[in-house]
Symmetry: C2
């Protein structure tokens, strides 16, 4: 036998390029079916959303998997079917439907397969007394509840964000890398690492690709990665995931952390424009509006943020002199930046050295501070980043000062020993930025199969 690729590539009329009056064949899952006196409606679920098909008792016919004629009454939700019909203009433009300008006049329905339970999860009736019960039910049955158009829309936006991230960086000379998640040393320190036995050795699941993306800068100047990262957080909050997708960037030959911040701002602008362009339906469905990112993005030092909020009386407490941002400050400074400068984003820089990772470069003008930043969006931190140390001696000195053993980081330090350009980077949590864009409170809703302290299935 020979497979003819060219033949496969012949394309005819599809549901995505058809016009009114065309004959069309379209497959999907039955999302809903409503029988009326004169016929009825089939709501077909496709990958982007819903399509309405209109059945007429006079002209529509139905066939089962064996080609036997059946009745419309025999159809049920979550059957996989193929509809043959004619494209017409939609009588009612249902905003919940992806295909909301057209509908299909059904000539023929062919059943391809069917559920084996009469008690199929009703994607439209996921309503419970309280949100927590609803969420638990949805997560417990995610293999099926993901078929709910709202969840489909969330993960479609997530996928679009990741693609736009990769496309922008590739266009700008970055190389995508794939680094190991089984590692012999944790990059971020602390106790929240997952341990594992690896043929008799104790190893860890990578908390971040930090060491490897820095190494990548010595090779490719500019690198990025999209991959899982692991944090053994023991608390189950709406803001944490134990396994998440980290969008990681690292670039060499920078003049300072501003280069990194400018790159991130330009990247985010591209992502926002791409999501707005390609996910209009999803944004509508979720009632989301894309954040504002003006040409000039506010970037303030931590001490300046404290000062601005105090002077303008925007916080309950006086936070001046504190070494981190209080949650009320995160919200207040974002509100201030939006009202005054039309920006949903605020960079906050110069965090104290003792609160940042050891690889952060200290500010030569005040070594108690670092050339590092957080990016806040709508009151939440979505990124940490900054310039990194690039000299071996500076690493050794800082490690010793922190009571770390440089010998445990042999290959990492060897990178700098062999020469490294000035560099910096940042990481964005994919689930978190998706939640922030879409105004979703629980970050777990932005993970296809969330993992937390209580959940490792489905």
């Amino acid at each position: 036998m020979f497979l003819d690729i060219e033949k496969h590539n012949e394309t005819g009329i599809t549901i995505d390029n058809c016009k009114v009056g065309d004959s069309v064949t379209v497959s999907g899952m039955i999302h809903n079916v409503r029988v009326t006196k004169w016929g009825g409606f089939i709501v077909l679920r496709k990958s982007r959303g819903l399509l309405q098909a209109v059945v007429s008792n006079d002209t529509s016919r139905f066939f089962d998997e064996q080609g036997q004629e059946i009745h419309m009454n025999d159809l049920c939700r979550e059957m996989a079917i193929t509809i043959v019909g004619t494209v017409g203009e939609a009588k009612i433009k249902d905003p919940a439907a992806f295909y909301n300008t057209i509908e299909i006049a059904v000539a023929e329905v062919r059943v391809l397969s069917r559920p084996t339970t009469a008690d199929v999860v009703d994607m439209n009736a996921l309503k419970f007394g309280d949100e927590e019960t609803l969420l638990r039910y949805k997560f417990d049955n995610r293999q099926v509840t993901l078929r709910n158009p709202r969840d489909m829309a969330i993960l479609k936006v997530q996928s679009t964000i990741a693609k736009a991230f990769a496309d922008f960086l590739t266009e700008n000379g970055f190389t995508q890398i794939y680094t190991p998640k089984i590692v012999s040393e944790g990059a971020e320190g602390g106790a929240n690492v997952f341990r594992m036995d690896y043929f008799g050795k104790q190893v860890y699941l990578a908390q971040s690709p930090q060491f490897y993306k820095q190494i990548g800068v010595g090779v490719y100047e500019r690198v990025f990665e999209i991959a899982p990262a692991y944090r053994a957080e023991k608390h189950a909050t709406s803001r944490h995931l134990n396994e998440y997708i980290s969008l990681d960037v690292e670039m060499g030959f920078i003049k300072g952390q501003e280069d990194v911040m400018l790159l991130e701002a330009a990247l985010l602008r591209h992502i926002i424009a791409t999501v707005a362009e390609r996910c209009g339906h999803e944004l509508n469905l979720l009632g989301a509006t894309m954040p504002k990112l003006p040409n000039e993005v506010p970037a303030w030092k931590l001490s300046e943020v404290h000062e601005i909020l105090f002077e303008n009386k925007l916080c309950e407490a006086d936070h001046r002199g504190e070494d981190d941002l209080a949650p009320e400050e995160e919200r207040a400074i974002c509100k201030y930046a939006l009202e005054k400068y039309g920006s949903d984003f605020v960079f906050v820089t110069h965090f104290p050295s003792e609160h940042r990772a050891f690889y952060a470069m200290d500010d030569p003008e005040d070594p108690t501070l670092t050339l590092s930043f957080d990016l806040l969006m709508r009151g939440l931190e979505i990124t940490s980043g900054g310039q990194r140390i690039h000299k071996e001696a500076d690493y050794r000195e800082k490690m010793l000062r922190r009571g770390m053993n440089p010998d445990a980081f042999r290959f990492y330090l060897d990178t700098f020993r062999n020469g490294m350009p000035p560099h910096g980077g940042f990481a964005i949590g994919l689930e978190r930025i998706t939640a922030c864009f879409l105004g979703i409170n629980n970050v777990k809703e932005c993970s296809m199969f969330p993992r937390d302290i209580n959940r490792v299935a489905p």
Copy 2:
């Protein structure tokens, strides 16, 4: 402070868009430096490869990190530098250089940072008595040896393959998904799973996203994933990695496994064309030629392959009646397909059911066989795929027949219980297909940081 994004986006002349006579500023690592009587050469390493710069004693000047003037003699390998100079035509078109039509007449070199050892790894001198010693040295010091142009080229091709894979599938209506790698059940069975403690529960690192990508078909019709996969293989061969990147595809609403094979052939054709177009330099450097994929790709049943090889006397042994392909058959049938049909690829189908995963659909015409395939390329298997079972009852029946406990697969079976379209898919090992394209014997050379039984660092 405000970051001006637009200003950042102003682009001037760069090394990638300059023409002869232009003034240009270009940064990179010193790959090599050669002093002559009249000046000398600096070979600069950029992300895509090498660029030659010509120094003149009369006009070129050199400055250290503090802006103090230095001599060309003070330069050394693996310094990060910025060169300001004028673009000229290359005197010698060195095929090893990426920028091999131009060279830079150096006006000024500014040192940005430098190695802290005089004994920098020489990227050009990675030569040892035997290949095994060389490979061990390279892997032991991969944080630095990756800067070798040959290894840079391999991983650049790898990155291009993955991007082409994602682009083609996105264009064809597939949604990229991100599924968990910490799982409560192994999808592929067998003993080669990594176990881990997860807050008191025993969990596994995913051997494949099989269950999750099938679930994804119930949601998005067509899905793909690019993510790590884990196999606790105890043998250290040149063909196995314990952590590898799996390119996974799953599509719904198929008529049979031919749809899946045709998709894979069209996808591979796109990948091959993209690598040929974008990685000409890397292919030259590695002496690689892209494989041939004609319009008509051979696809033979396992029993037919045995028969063809026997009838044409292409194997030492008579393999007719055997239930798998012998390695000599893999090589022989690929040679035959190339000589007779101009194809570096051969699909082999209808493997015995007992040798394939439980989710493979049995052939209704002969239930001892499956509607599944391997794709061979240049004598090696690079893919397994096929049509999957889509009915809950068929899963239960097959699981019981195999002594598996269906209750251990509750969420998986629940997917089919709630209705699933006919579907199928395949997986490609990214490192393996990269090695196959490039004619590299050891698949570990196609992993940035390979993991095997003996290696978990760097």
